[in-house]
Amino acid sequence: MKKYKNIIFTIFLCSTFFIVFFGGEKMKSLGVEELDIYAGAGVGIDKYGEADIKYRVPGILNGYKLDGSAERVISTGVGSTIGKTREDRQKKIGNKLFFGLVKLYLIEEEYAKFGIRPIMDITFKNPAVNNDLFLVVCKGRSEEYFMKDISGYDNSADYISDMIKNSVNYNFFKGEYMFKNAVLSMDAEGKNVVSPYIEILEDEIKITGMGVFKKDKLAAILDMKDTKIMNMLRENKVKGILTIQKDSKKYINYEAESKRKITCEKIGDKYVFTIDLNLKGDIINNELYKDIASKIEVTEKFEEDMAKQVKEMCSGFLEKMKHGYKVDLLQLGWVAAAKYGRDTGVDWDEVVSNSDIKVNVKVSIDSVGRGQY
């Protein structure tokens, strides 16, 4: 009897195993050839009157033909919700759509001003989407950027993401302009999202500034000059080139890495922020300071002059920030909240615009190249 029990038991187990794992729904796991893998997606809106707005999501992918050649394909989904754009897209393409390897979201300026919360939510909910995708704001329609063919690249989405990755070498860009960075900044007290802003100039795609968000809406677009200073003041350990120029032939280029420290004090009702900037770098081009390599007085004069110039640039920028943009572009609110308390109902943009912001700059030279020409 015991033997029978064992056999029946084993049969029961085996059949359960098979029914559960091989029965039920067929789990189709698709190979790469059966998926349309998008490299980049644009997000824009089309307005058809006051209340009627449709989301337009162009996607760019590489279609590989049977003979191995690649062709860039753009397909667009339109709908009143972003989910509906997927349904619209699926009936126009020959494979199952797949956004898990998207490198880039090109957010059209108009949509950025409207509020990007829906695209943030749908991407956030989906673990299959790559968190390291770049968020970039573009002027005009994203299709224009996708339709550009760039030599050396399969499609422009690859090119734009490389461009952003390489931007960290200049203009003090931090490079943390990815979806996961936006998730951490958008709704955090005292923080905000910044995204590189691109345009098509002279038939080329170029970074021309930065877009700054207030919560989920685009609040300001800074030009390259302001962007450079904002980056220097906002980020820590970033690289860029600073120049003192007397005329077209007399100038000096200084490639530096900046370290910045922010401290916050509250005096009565007013907040006082002190930003300490420490620049350290190399002279890469010198047509202005004779004997900078040999005479210590010249070196020190340069360091003093550069510090003074940087401080002036910063002061000018800060005035613009407080009275022009009226947005806390430097995330000073984050520092203040960490010291003086959170969720106090304070509007940090307002507080920072009315605060005292002091900048102290220190410049030092590591090397002056191999000599002077």
Partner: protein, 360 residues
């Protein structure tokens, strides 16, 4: 249950089993529970929450010191009479059982949300039970070994998250103590779910091969869990900040996504895989303990059949009542306080009776 000396647990194995009983994948949402109340000081709340298992350990050390080879079920019958003892023991079983369905439901939801969406929850449950029951039927020594392996897996999961210190900021945890002592203490209540089940030490301590080591084993376990929970909460707040934590369901998962290891493309899949193995361990322990309880009421001849019935019952409860997360939280809102309070009363009662009778 008489077991030969060589099948008893070493103190390390006891430590690992106690750790294994308490820690499972719900720990990834530990920061979420405390965030609304304790905000940026949630990690302090997580540390304070260790008082609950510490108290249990304190009682257990006392009781096991007096009766090193007899577990709480036997003792309750002795001090309260067979009938009352059995009833209270049964309620103790129920209180412990209430953690079982949410455990498998949670691992099911996490696997399907984070890794493989097209897998049905039934398949996950059945897989868990096939392996869990098999491991449980092999005895406590095997569970000890399984817990040892999962202990090292937990370490393997935690260590890479240290690199997140580079990506977060101390600003996110400041101002420290800014939320006030009252809120921090209130927040620590939300860690009760993850710190619970240390009560099972009262069933485990007879299995140790050297009874004098119970105290150190239990304290090591509590200490380890407290450190892990505090770290999980700390690094999550440090990286995400208190404003973003409520947007997630399992905030620690989001933290692990930020981990960048050169060889591994996406740490999230490795992480999910480890948690699945850890879930097997939890299911095995639960199955073993349930069987242990049942055997205490009545000797069971055909364990296999009972295991199958138990599996089916748990799976069905999980599917029906704990199917999705919101429903699950609704039920736990009530069952958790009842379980914790009952356990505390039950254990304190018996420990007190032992103390009183000894003094008399």
């Amino acid at each position: 249950m008489q077991i030969e000396k060589k099948n008893l647990l070493t103190p390390n194995e006891v430590t690992f089993i106690l750790i294994g009983i308490m820690i499972d994948v719900t720990a990834t949402s530990l920061p979420n529970g405390m965030s609304p109340t304790s905000k940026q000081d949630g990690w302090i709340s997580a540390l304070l929450g260790a008082i609950y298992p510490l108290y249990i350990v304190f009682l257990a050390v006392y009781v096991s010191g007096k009766f090193p080879r007899e577990n709480i079920l036997v003792l309750s019958k002795r001090y309260l009479g067979k009938t009352l003892g059995n009833i209270l023991n049964f309620l103790f079983l129920l209180s412990f059982f209430s953690y079982f369905p949410p455990l498998i439901s949670t691992i099911g939801i996490i696997v399907r949300t984070e890794a493989i969406p097209f897998l049905s929850s039934i398949k996950i449950y059945v897989a868990l039970f096939f392996i869990g029951v098999y491991a449980a039927s092999k005895g406590i020594k095997v569970l000890g070994r399984l817990s040892t392996i999962t202990f090292w897996m937990i370490i393997a999961i935690m260590i890479p998250t240290i690199s997140i210190l580079k990506q977060g900021s101390y600003l996110n945890i400041s101002p420290v103590f800014g939320t006030g002592i009252v809120n921090i203490i209130k927040g620590s209540v939300y860690s009760a779910y993850d710190y619970s089940l240390m009560e099972l030490i009262f069933l485990i301590y007879p299995f140790i091969n050297d009874s004098s080591k119970i105290k150190s084993a239990a304290l090591k376990a509590t200490g380890f869990i407290a450190i892990i929970y505090t770290w999980i909460t700390f690094i999550t707040i440090y990286y995400m900040g208190k404003d973003i934590i409520p947007k997630t369901i399992w905030s620690f998962f989001t933290v692990t996504e930020a981990v960048q290891i050169d060889v591994v493309n996406n740490f999230r899949y490795v992480f999910t895989f480890f948690w699945i193995i850890i879930a097997f361990k939890s299911v095995a322990i639960f199955n073993y303990v349930c069987m242990f309880f049942l055997e205490n009421f009545k000797k069971i001849k055909d364990k296999k059949v009972i295991y199958v019935i138990m599996s089916v019952v748990v799976i069905m409860i999980a599917k029906t009542y704990y199917g999705d997360r919101v429903d699950m939280e609704e039920i736990i809102k009530y069952t958790l306080p009842i379980s914790v309070i009952y356990n505390l009363i039950y254990l304190t009662l018996i420990a007190s009776l032992i103390w009183i009778k000894k003094e008399a």
